[in-house]
C-alpha cells in the first residue's frame, strides 16, 4: 500500500467526516428534544421541563459548535482533495449543497444565537420559535446532505459522461434518488435514537447517585418512550433500506452479508472471516437459507455474490461485514433496552432498578458507535466508486502532492484530538453534575443565559496572571 495523495486524502476524508457526523447525529435529535421540552414548559408551566431545557441547551451549545466548525471543513475539502469529483458532480449535486446552506445553515446559525443568548431579549413565544427553527434547520440540513449522498449512491436523473461532464435532466429524480427516502428516514431515526440513549444514560447516571432527582426521572421516562417506539421502527426502516441496497448496489449487499457465490438459499452468516484474497470466508457461523430470506424476502430469492463482480469492482468485505454486524447488534440492544424500560415504566418503577439504570449508562454512547458503523457500511460498501457506477474514487482526487495531504492529515489528527477530548470532557462534566447543578445559580430569565460565557465564572480566575485563584467546584 502506497501512501500517495489518494490514500491520504481518503484517510483524511474518512477521519474528518466520521468526526463530523458524531455531532449532527446528536444535535439533530437534541434540537428536537429541546423544542419539545420548551413547548411542554410553555404549555404546562411545569418547571422541571424548563430545568431540563436549560440543562440540555448547554450540552447542545458545545456539541453544535463542534459540529459547525467540523462541518465548514467539509464544504472546502471536496475541492481541496476531490477536485475532479467536484468538477464532474458540481452541475448535478452542487445545488443540493447550496440549498443546504441557504435553507438550513443560515437558519440554524442565526436562531442559535437567539436560543442561547436571547432569554432576556425576546419573549417566550419568540424564544420557543427560535428553538423550533433551529430544530427545523437541523432536519432540513439532514434532508439536503442525505439527498446529495444518496445521489452518489444511486445516481439518477442525469445525463452525460465523466469525460464530457454530467448534467441534470430531471431535478426531482436527482433530489429524490431511489435510495434517498429510506436513507433519510434511517438517518433521522438514528439521530433520535442517539439522543435518546444519551439522555437515558445521563439521566440514569444521576438517578444512580440520587434516586429522588425528579428531573432526571422525567428525562429517563421521555428517553425510554422514544427508544421503545423508535428502536423497533428503525429495524423496519433499516430492513427497507437494505432492500434498496440489494436493488441498487448489489455488490455492497454481497459485502454486507459476505456472500461470494450467486445462488438461491443463501445462508445467513452470523459471524465470518471474509477475505478478498481467497474470494471466500476463512470460517463462518451460519444459518442455512436465512440469508436469502432476510435480504431478498424469500429463501428462493437468487442473491448475487461477490463473484458476480470483477475483482476491481468489489468493495472491501471484512470492514463492511463487521461494521454492519456491529450496527445491527447495537440496534437490537437498543430495542431490548427500550422494551425493558417500557416494561419497568409500565410497572411503575423505572427509576429504581439499578441494573436497568446501569444498562442505560452503558448504552449511552451506543448511538454514536452505531451511526459511525452504519456510515462505514454505506461509504466503504460503495467503493471503489465515489459516484456509484460512474466515477471511481481513484479518479476523483485532486492534483496535489502527498506531502501537503500528510501535513494536513497530521494537523487534523492533532487539532481534532484536542477539540474532541476537551469537548467530551466538558460535556461529561456537565452530564455528571446533572440538571440541578446549574439551576440554583438563578434562572436565566432573571440573570444569565444558559451557554453564555458569563454563566461560567464571573471572576474569570483561570486567566494568566491569576493562576492560583480559587475556583471551587459547584460555583458554576
Amino acid at each position: 500500500m502506497e501512501f500517495d495523495a489518494l490514500l491520504l486524502s481518503r484517510i483524511q476524508f474518512a477521519f474528518t467526516i466520521a468526526f463530523h457526523i458524531i455531532f449532527p447525529s446528536f444535535t439533530i435529535g437534541l434540537a428536537s428534544y429541546l423544542a419539545v421540552l420548551e413547548g411542554l414548559w410553555l404549555l404546562t408551566r411545569n418547571e422541571a421541563f424548563k430545568t431540563l431545557y436549560l440543562f440540555w441547551v448547554k450540552i447542545f451549545a458545545i456539541s453544535f459548535g463542534m459540529g459547525v466548525v467540523s462541518g465548514v471543513v467539509m464544504s472546502y475539502q471536496l475541492g481541496t482533495n476531490w477536485s475532479v469529483f467536484s468538477a464532474v458532480a458540481g452541475p448535478v449535486i452542487g445545488p443540493l449543497f447550496a440549498f443546504e446552506v441557504l435553507a438550513a445553515f443560515f437558519l440554524e446559525a442565526s436562531f442559535l444565537g437567539v436560543m442561547l443568548f436571547g432569554w432576556k431579549k425576546v419573549g417566550p413565544g419568540l424564544h420557543f420559535t427560535s428553538t423550533v427553527l433551529v430544530a427545523f434547520g437541523t432536519l432540513t440540513s439532514a434532508f439536503w446532505i442525505i439527498s446529495a449522498n444518496s445521489w452518489m449512491q444511486s445516481p439518477s436523473g442525469f445525463a452525460g459522461t465523466v469525460e464530457e461532464g454530467l448534467v441534470a435532466v430531471d431535478w426531482l429524480k436527482v433530489i429524490f434518488s431511489p435510495t434517498f427516502p429510506m436513507r433519510l428516514t434511517h438517518m433521522v431515526l438514528a439521530a433520535y435514537l442517539t439522543t435518546a440513549l444519551v439522555v437515558a444514560g445521563a439521566s440514569a447516571f444521576r438517578l444512580l447517585r440520587n434516586a429522588h432527582e425528579a428531573e432526571s426521572a422525567m428525562g429517563l421516562k421521555m428517553a425510554i418512550g422514544m427508544l421503545a417506539i423508535v428502536a423497533p421502527l428503525q429495524l423496519l426502516v433499516g430492513d427497507l433500506s437494505g432492500k434498496d441496497v440489494l436493488e441498487h448496489q448489489p455488490a455492497k449487499l454481497a459485502a454486507i452479508e459476505a456472500f461470494w457465490e450467486t445462488r438461491t438459499e443463501q445462508p445467513f452468516h452470523i459471524a465470518a472471516w471474509p477475505d478478498r484474497t481467497i474470494e471466500g470466508n476463512h470460517w463462518e457461523l451460519s444459518i442455512p437459507k436465512v440469508g436469502s430470506w432476510i435480504t431478498g424476502g424469500s429463501v428462493d430469492a437468487e442473491i448475487q455474490g461477490l463473484e458476480a463482480f470483477a475483482p476491481e469492482d468489489r468493495p472491501p468485505v471484512f470492514i463492511v461485514f463487521w461494521s454492519f454486524r456491529l450496527m445491527v447488534g447495537l440496534g437490537l440492544a437498543m430495542i431490548a433496552l427500550g422494551l425493558w424500560g417500557a416494561w419497568l415504566v409500565w410497572r411503575g418503577h423505572s427509576a429504581r432498578s439499578r441494573v436497568f439504570l446501569r444498562a442505560c449508562v452503558a448504552m449511552g454512547p451506543a448511538g454514536f458507535v452505531a451511526v459511525i458503523a452504519g456510515w462505514v457500511v454505506a461509504e466503504v460498501g460503495r467503493q471503489p466508486y465515489v459516484i456509484y457506477g460512474i466515477l471511481r474514487t481513484e479518479d476523483a482526487v485532486s492534483p496535489i502532492g502527498a506531502g501537503s495531504v500528510s501535513a494536513s492529515l497530521l494537523a487534523f489528527l492533532v487539532v481534532y484530538s484536542i477539540v474532541f477530548s476537551v469537548g467530551a470532557l466538558y460535556i461529561l462534566r456537565l452530564l455528571a453534575e446533572g440538571p440541578l447543578a446549574g439551576a440554583h445559580e438563578g434562572p436565566p430569565t432573571e440573570h444569565r443565559a444558559p451557554g453564555s460565557p458569563l454563566a461560567a465564572t464571573p471572576e474569570d480566575p483561570g486567566e494568566p496572571g491569576r493562576p492560583d485563584a480559587p475556583n471551587p467546584e459547584g460555583t458554576r
Partner: protein, 341 residues
C-alpha cells in the same frame, strides 16, 4: 425571459464573499485584539459582543465555498487544490477559535487560559491564512488544461505575505471599531486606542498592497490604466471613485475617532473594505480564476444555475431579514457584566 445566469451568479458569490469578509472580519478582529485586552473581564465582554453573531457570520464562508462549488465547479476545482495549504490552515484556525466560544466558558483555570490563547491565535492565523488565500488568488493560478497545474507552495511569495499582514490589520480595524460601537468605559477607551493604531496600519498597508498589486500582474495594471510606464488618465479617472471611496472610508474612521463618534468608525471601516473589494474585482473581472479562466468558462450547467437562482430569490431575502433581526435583538452596548444577556 433571458437571464445572464453566470453573471448573476458571479454577483451572488461575490456578494457572499464580501459579506463574509465584512461580518466575520470584525469578529476575527476581536480575536486578533484579544492579547491587548487589560483583563480577563474585558476579554469576556469582547467575546460577548460577538457571541450571538459569529456562527451566522461564518455561514457566509460556507456559502462562498458551497456556492462556488455549486455555481462554478471548475473554479472551485482549480482554486481549492491550488491554495490547499493556506485553506487547510484557515480551517484548523477557524476550528480552534470557533470551539473556543463555548470551551473558554466551560474551562476551569488552565483550560480557560488555553482557550483564550486558542481564540486569539486561531483568529489571527485565520486572518493571515485568508490573506494568503487572497494574495495567492490575485497573483494568479497555474492551469494545466482545466485543472490546477502548479506546485504546493506557489501561493507563498512576498506579495502574499504582504496581503496577509494587510488583511489582518484590516480585520483588527473592523474589530476595534466594532468594540467602540458596542462597549463602554475602559474597554471602549482601549478600543479607541487600538482603532487609531489599526487605522494607521491599515491605511499604510492598503496603499502598499494596492501599489504592489499593480506590479503583480500586468492585466491588473492595464485595467487600472497603467501600461509600460505610461498611464491612461481617462481609464484611471473612470475608476477613481473606488479609491476615493476608500479614502472617504478612512476619513470617516478618523473623523469618528477625533469627534468621539461611536458608530462612524465602524461604518468607515466597512466602507474601506467595500472599496478594497471593488478595486480588486475590477482588476480581474471577468476572470474567476486569475488569469486564464473566466466565470463563463467555469460556470455550471444553465439548469443548475437557474434552479439555484429560484432558491436564492426566495431564501436570500429571508436570510437577510432574519440576520438583520438578530442584529437588532442584540443591539446596544454590551456591559462587562450580565446586563447584556
Amino acid at each position: 425571459m433571458d437571464l445572464d445566469l453566470p453573471l448573476i451568479w458571479a454577483g451572488i458569490i461575490a456578494l457572499a464573499v464580501l459579506l463574509y469578509v465584512m461580518l466575520d472580519g470584525f469578529d476575527l478582529g476581536i480575536g486578533i485584539l484579544f492579547p491587548f485586552a487589560r483583563s480577563p473581564r474585558d476579554r469576556d465582554t469582547m467575546m460577548n459582543t460577538i457571541a450571538p453573531f459569529w456562527d451566522g457570520n461564518e455561514t457566509w464562508l460556507v456559502l462562498g465555498g458551497g456556492g462556488l462549488f455549486a455555481a462554478f465547479p471548475l473554479a472551485y476545482a482549480v482554486i481549492m487544490p491550488a491554495l490547499y495549504i493556506p485553506i487547510l490552515l484557515m480551517m484548523m484556525a477557524l476550528i480552534l477559535r470557533g470551539v473556543a466560544f463555548e470551551f473558554r466558558a466551560r474551562g476551569r483555570a488552565r483550560g480557560k487560559a488555553f482557550w483564550t490563547g486558542a481564540f486569539a491565535g486561531g483568529s489571527t492565523v485565520a486572518a493571515l491564512a485568508q490573506g494568503l488565500v487572497l494574495g495567492g488568488f490575485i497573483q494568479g493560478v497555474t492551469l494545466n488544461g482545466q485543472a490546477f497545474g502548479g506546485g504546493a507552495f506557489d501561493w507563498l511569495t512576498p506579495y502574499t505575505l504582504l496581503v496577509a499582514v494587510g488583511l489582518t490589520a484590516g480585520y483588527a480595524l473592523l474589530g476595534s471599531t466594532w468594540l467602540i460601537w458596542r462597549t463602554e468605559d475602559d474597554l471602549h477607551g482601549d478600543a479607541r486606542r487600538w482603532a487609531w493604531r489599526a487605522v494607521i496600519a491599515s491605511a499604510a498597508l492598503l496603499v502598499v498592497v494596492s501599489l504592489a498589486t499593480l506590479f503583480v500582474h500586468p492585466q491588473v495594471a492595464l485595467r487600472w490604466g497603467f501600461e509600460d510606464g505610461a498611464f491612461d488618465l481617462a481609464r484611471l479617472g473612470l475608476l477613481s471613485p473606488i479609491p476615493l471611496l476608500g479614502a472617504a472610508g478612512l476619513g470617516l474612521v478618523v473623523w469618528g475617532l477625533v469627534m468621539g463618534g461611536h458608530v462612524a468608525p465602524f461604518l468607515g471601516s466597512l466602507t474601506v473594505f467595500v472599496s478594497g473589494y471593488l478595486g480588486l474585482a475590477v482588476g480581474f473581472f471577468p476572470n474567476i480564476v486569475p488569469y486564464d479562466l473566466t466565470f463563463r468558462q467555469a460556470a455550471s450547467a444553465e439548469n443548475a444555475l437557474g434552479l439555484m437562482l429560484v432558491g436564492v430569490a426566495i431564501l436570500l431575502p429571508v436570510i437577510l431579514a432574519y440576520t438583520v433581526w438578530v442584529y437588532w435583538v442584540f443591539r446596544g452596548k454590551v456591559g462587562a457584566d450580565a446586563g447584556y444577556h
